[in-house]
Amino acid sequence: MLFNLDKKITEAIDDAASKSLWLYHINAGSCNGCDIEIVAALTPRYDAERLGCKLTGSPRQADIVLVSGPVTLQSRDRLIRTLAQVPEPYCLVTVGSCPCSGNVFKGSYAICGPVDKYRHVDVSVAGCTPKPEAIMAGIAQAAAILKEKRRGMHE
């Protein structure tokens, strides 16, 4: 288009992909320790909204999917189904040790293994309830990855 306006616009869109991060939180059987830490990240003290974060209600509007909790037997199908319904490009961030390895519940009959088995995890934040700052650092890392993914999408 005229003086490569469309390049400028797609450049702006790629840049915006890392500035407006809509979080969608899936609780795959967590003890709610990580859940309250995620929400704590949005409180005035840590204020994830500075990064452009906002909790959304539906996976169709998710950019970063936060998974917490060891993927229990019951939540396995629901996790896979919800992850399938999120539009590309999106990042999967695991919060806490449970989703990465099942933590103390490792090897139990009710656990369906780490989230890695179902989809490649972009960023994982370790800590048995990681501090909100750690979660925000993880989200910042995910934002960078998201920008690459968005750029990769239209190459």
């Binding site: 469309d6 616009i9 996976p59 629901r78 896979i80 189904r81 919800t82």
Partner: protein
Amino acid sequence: MENFPILAIMTLFMGAFINSLAGRRSYKARCAIVFTTMAISLILVLAMVPSVMGGGEIVCYWMGGWAPEADWAYGIGLEVDALSLFFGLIVTIAVMISGVYSFTYMKHDDSQVNFYTLFLMLAGSVLGLVLSGDLFNIFVMVEIMTFTAVALTAFRNDTEGALEGAFKYLVVGSLGSMSILVGTILIYACLHTLNLAQIAQMAIHARNPVMVIAFGFLFVGFCTKAFMFPFQPLAADAHAVAPASISMMISGVLTKCGVYGLIRLVYVLFQNIGQTHVQYLVTGMGCVTMFICVTMAFNQHNFKRLLAFHSISQVGYVVTALGLGTALGLSAGLYHAINHTLFKGLLFLVAGAVQHQTGTLDLDELGGLSKKMPRTTALFLIGAASISGIPPFNGFASKWMIYQAAFSKAVNTDNFFYLLVCGVALITSVLTLASFVKVAQSAFFGQCSVLCRDAEDCEKGMLVPMSVLAVLCVVLGLIPDQFGTLFLKPAAGAAMDPGVYISAMLRGADATVMPAIYGYVGAWNPVFFIVLLLIVTVGVTIYSVSAPLRRPEPLAEGDVEDEHVLPENAKYEPFFSGEESVHSHVGGSDLFWGFKENWKKYFSFWHDWHSGIVNDYELYGVVFLAAALIYCMLFV
């Protein structure tokens, strides 16, 4: 030019007669006869338009050549001035479209010959009522109209409640006819004439109580025919069970005859629209009907019963606009009358198409028809948008005129009542929009219910008349000024200025109608089109730049749509917060919980008020008749 009116009426009646003779032979013959009859009457009415509407000439025809002598009219006269021709147009267009529609709609019914005979008699009587210039002739036409409408309502007597609806319509309708007859006779007792023009001439001087009671009786009679407030259960029952083309005729045409009668009564015969009390009576009736019918329609389950209540509430709009008494109010009312026939006809035909394909009209069972019947859904959206007054369509233009008329009337007469009228009118339009959102969600969009899985779009024979109506809806919405000057001003002028009507009828003089003077403003001018064009370009630029579209791939082999879909390929299934997506259609009566919750008592009162028992409806009618008579005695 002289005998066009009588020819138009007689072709319809002759058509009915010929059809019952020659129509039995074959379907093709029957359709040919009916189509030619309707076409001839339409052409005759259209032929009169340029001279009557344009030139302002009034066509008078005396039956049997009994012209008035020594200016006393003793013969039966047909008089066609701009007002009656305007309604004649509405009638013939609606008849034509519903006739063509019923060719395919009624194809699988038995005894179609009787159907078309009754249909043509109904059309003839309605056209006769609108064009006639004699009060008793109006009564006879009203009788034939009611008679045939009752017969046609009960035509499919196997549907649930058809006979019951027809019977109630007949019983309470006869109350209305009785009051018209008594009113006519009382006028005859005082003035010893039945000719409209003559009555109009002499009624001003004869201000005795008998005339006042006659006015009361006639007012109640025409309110019954227009299904105003206490009589609206009749229309609701009749429409819900009648075939779709007949519902269109009843709501589009019969109610208009009641409105025509009211206009003649109040503007021409007694010319007492000037009195504030008469305005209160007519506008009050309109407002009460408007509001109660829209709230009644709000939680109906049957699609056609919902449409019936809406059609009465729109007639309430028309009557409110008439009752204002100003030129702008009357032309707004007339404009809304023709718009109402168009979009209400369209909606009824859509309802017929839905019933034809899925066999049911219950909003709780329907769902997701838009995938199976795309064209019918598009037509439904046009009809729903125009009835709820969405800008580009005709409902918006006429409702807007009504608000202008009501508000300027409120300000000129500095009277708070018309402000309430304006407020009620706006609230009713929002509630109309609400119930059509409900119909759209429960019947057309949302998830496909088990009943609509095998429905496919209806044949061309039904789609063509519906699309003609849709095109008219859109066109009338875009050209309100030109339509106003061409049709509304002469019609309103004819009603506002009865002097010309009288002189033309009695002395046969050729009088020109003085067009009604009112400041009217265009709703739509070309600049809007440029703006819309610009907006579309903005939209297109957004399209070209953004990410691709993902259309749903077909289901993998192991998956069944609503029963079991593998979690991996659930990308295009609706989001059920992680659960497997089962069939769950939100529609019908579980919408608008917030609103219904607050008005529980109001809704349950009116639910019980429509008890369905003949005696109750008759009681309401008689109480209304008594109240109207007392009101007239005291104030008019």
